[in-house]
Symmetry: C2
Subunit: 359 residues, 2 copies
């Protein structure tokens, strides 16, 4: 029997035990095929069955309309940072970007290679501890790009930003499928899988068909969305094992009651921890209350040595991956879909004891 | 107990049972970490240990000199098809390409977006059934690109082509680590992992440092080799699980005696099948004898209905994935490193019976 500890890692992150057990049982042979899941040809009947079911579950769970393509690509959000502007932005065009963290800044840096970027809202002056309240959207922007959840800074959009024409592009890497998604407000949603959906190495892209059609044709084949849309993500060999794990995660989400049920459970987990932080005399949250993330709860003691002591004790207590990103310092508890409520209770127990010992 | 059949898939392909068993045992918890291998942060101690060991094993097995970088990227060979010329070829420059199959043709098509491509050798006029014997290399080529093994057509270079200055770029996707590699003859070697090295979704790139340095700086960050060289493939989240499987495969290769031992065993497996084909009155190989691949053995009966009957019976006999690519027709037996000699014997037994029944 394997003993598992509480894994607060920001990503790659905890996956549901049921998913890992099912994957384990199919590693040497998928069902009765006599061939392990990693060893099946992507063009064979067995994997095509997995693929089609995965796409169908994805559409069902998120309510993705028929005029959107669901693509399973590679290269992470970092690849989408340049692929989006490379496809949709030319030198004489502009796009609006909301800058709510390090990843959003990277997206801007890549986009500036292709067109004019208006930063229409930024919280950088306060180390990204909040979601900009009144962005000044432009009317000429081809699209507006935002990052729905900021893993490093523990902030999250409560709802998609309201632009004039509503052509949104969203990096949803760290909160996708943690709550219902307003897909039709977006031209493109993309997300690395390694937080809520599966292992690292798969990028989910949901893109509206008119955007697939309007993308530049003067690009390498692999960088055109139409290539992957036309070939159902099989222009070249897709990351088959990662897609299989997403399949199992989607089934698990469905068994939990879907995205609305997950939102409730995620909200409850995060609220429990924020409630503790708000009454604590030692610990405090780093994000503004109205911008707090349900996925990543960032907090500090206000003293670097105490933070270090806290983290050391946490590891010893079987609470792993709590170290905050260096640009915020302190602690970060990532509470993705698969993170169990019992882990939040265990963390609060430890925090309470630590606070008691350091009065 | 899981029963496994013989899997002749061209890729994703059979992996060593020992590798699958080890992965299975670490899926819920890697060693004593209490966190599954897919769930570990790529920046944490546990995964960094895996990563460093994987790179070290890769260098040791292939004898990769210190002035080469070993990168674990995403996007497959199809991504390298454009990334190489995008980085190293400008409009006023030329590169030599050897065209030995469909993948080589795709590489040419992507490279033509960036510079002038000389096709210095091609076997297309005979449906790629041989390796061009006397390529006419140019002197001005920035590099010479070739595909060491042609999965679809069952042909393979016996040795790297001899160019004037020896600046080779090789797509080694379907025979990497199947035999010793003359790394120092190459500026770049790249390979999708899904045939000899692991699951789909990881691309191994071995690139000489002077090439990393000379690559264009006017490109998206993710498309510059220097980005990945500088950050040890961790500029963004790498495909951690795929790298872990490569780690296990490298250990397995080492236990087999390394690349020279694998070459012996691969040569023996393929030779057994070619010997049978050469004396058969029903089956015949499609590749010219001097160009035959040790990895993919392509053969036909000369009759489409008979081929179909053969394939149907093969599946029933537990011999899976033997259908040839539509551009060649007939059959293809992929005999990668992990494919067991007993599988070749089982195939020949079935072929013998089939031939007996169809005299």
């Amino acid at each position: 029997m394997t003993s598992r500890i509480h894994n607060f890692s920001a990503g790659p992150a905890v996956l549901p035990v049921e998913v890992l057990e099912e994957a384990r049982d199919n590693l040497l042979a998928l069902g009765d095929t006599g061939v392990g899941i990693m060893e099946h040809s992507h063009r064979g009947k067995a994997f095509l069955g997995v693929y089609e079911e995965t796409e169908a579950l994805c559409r069902e769970l998120a309510g993705i309309p028929d005029n959107y393509h669901v693509l399973f690509l590679q290269g992470g959000a970092s690849t989408q940072f340049f692929t989006v502007p490379m496809n949709f932005l030319s030198e004489d065009q502009t796009a609006d970007y909301l800058v709510t963290g390090s990843w959003a800044k990277k997206a801007v840096a890549e986009a500036r290679r292709f067109g004019t970027i208006n930063v229409v809202g930024s919280s950088e002056h306060r180390n990204f501890c909040y979601i900009p309240r009144e962005p000044e959207f432009t009317t000429e922007a081809v699209y507006t790009h935002y990052t729905s959840n900021n893993t490093i800074f523990g902030t999250q959009y409560a709802a998609p930003p309201q632009t004039a024409d509503g052509t949104l592009v969203c990096d949803m890497s760290s909160d996708i499928f943690s709550r219902p998604i307003e897909v039709s407000k977006h031209a493109i949603i993309y997300a690395g899988a390694q937080k809520n959906l599966g292992p690292s190495g798969v990028t989910l892209v949901v893109i509206r068909d008119d955007w697939v059609q309007r993308g530049s044709e003067d690009l390498p084949t692999m960088l055109q969305y139409r290539t992957h849309a036309k070939h159902q993500s099989m222009f070249n060999t897709p990351p088959t094992f990662g897609i299989y794990i997403m399949n199992l995660v989607f089934k698990w989400i469905k068994a939990q009651g879907g995205l609305a049920a997950l939102e409730q459970s995620n909200r409850a987990k995060a609220q429990t921890l924020y409630d503790y932080l708000d009454q604590s005399r030692l610990f405090s949250g780093t994000a503004d209350p109205d911008s707090r993330s349900m996925m990543n709860v960032t907090f500090v003691t206000g003293d670097d040595d105490l933070n270090a002591e806290f983290l050391k004790g946490a590891e010893a207590a079987g609470l792993s991956g709590l170290k905050g990103h260096r640009s915020v310092g302190g602690m970060r508890a990532s509470l993705y879909n698969a993170f169990p409520p019992a882990g939040v209770d265990a963390l609060i127990d430890y925090m309470r004891r630590f606070e008691e010992d350091h009065k």
